[in-house]
Symmetry: C2
Subunit: 200 residues, 2 copies
Amino acid sequence: MLRRKSAEDRKTEIIAAVLDLSDRIGPDRLTTNDIAQEVGVTQAAIFRHFPTKAELWTAVGDAIADRLEVAWQQAMDGNASPMTRLRALIAAQLQQIAETPALPAILHSRELNVDNAALRDRFRGVLMQYQAHLVAHLQAMAEAGMMGAGVQPKDAAVLLTSLVQGIAIRWSLGSRSFDIVPEGMRLLEVQLVLFACKEG
Amino acid sequence: MLRRKSAEDRKTEIIAAVLDLSDRIGPDRLTTNDIAQEVGVTQAAIFRHFPTKAELWTAVGDAIADRLEVAWQQAMDGNASPMTRLRALIAAQLQQIAETPALPAILHSRELNVDNAALRDRFRGVLMQYQAHLVAHLQAMAEAGMMGAGVQPKDAAVLLTSLVQGIAIRWSLGSRSFDIVPEGMRLLEVQLVLFACKEG
DNA sequence: AGATTATGTTAGTGATTACTTACTTACAAG
DNA sequence: CTTGTAAGTAAGTAATCACTAACATAATCT
């Protein structure tokens, strides 16, 4: 006999399966049957917990967004200076991508970009929030005289988020043949040295 | 009566339709029926020109790769100094994304990256070629004393490709509410000024 | 002008999709 | 122990998918 789980546990299980399968099968090709097989229930059981596939995706998006926000908060809480906080924010983001490799693929999925406006807005808001965190810390660094005159905090933040996204894509396309966190942190140090430059 | 076209013209038309629809519908959910309607023929006519959908995608991938290579070559032919060539290479890439907005999505689609191994390798080679162009020009700039000591040409090239990809994602998620080419070139100048910094 | 060929259509195929309906049973509360 | 409910299943649904076979005609060649 199949052991039954609470709706909350099963929902968490389904969302985890979607994240896992999005990486292996692709977010846009993922079917409810694939999900059911991965979880170990019948396909109809999926719809007991999520009325439509779109709402399942929204729940997945929420889960990702929540996870990211928690990671950022922890990164900022555990560090004192603006610069170490900035480093921790980048490290946290890289770590999240390493733990959820489907993230870049979901970011480019049709589900997010075409079908599900709510999901897209949620992701855009979350990414803008991250950018705002970066800008705030870069601003603090500038006020402490740790930044050169060659770059505005806002532009620096864009360069840093691009750095993370670019590395994530390279990592993904290259079959994850390198360790994303240390490689990302190495390039971050390169960029931070450039930011500190005071030459006109 | 429907006017018939040569197989070559029709193939070009079909490939153009795939590129257009990949942006609106998404590469992984695009159906042969969608393509046929866009072109203005019946669905069966698609299979007169391409035996399978996979081979259609191979043709689309070839067309994209050719287009990119031509754009890069033109960018490098029409400019004298390493720095203006570098600028032209970045501008060309941004221009290609602006003209074919589905490019990032196709580049990360399951169709090209999972189903079609040969094509995936071709794309990876093409992107590595781009990176090699960037490294070569940055190397030339370094030898001309135009680069600071704080960054290696290889790392600088990664930062620049990340810049392009990061802007592309921001442009895509933000519903293309800004002009990608000038915004990208503006940030490129910021990064180039940082590269030139000679302070340790 | 007549024959050939290549580009097209009509009308299907079985497989798969998201989702539904009607029924069943594990489990916790009283 | 009984019972109501929530978590499950079996067996469908219509729609859509890539693809095919048989037939039609526009374009081209001789």
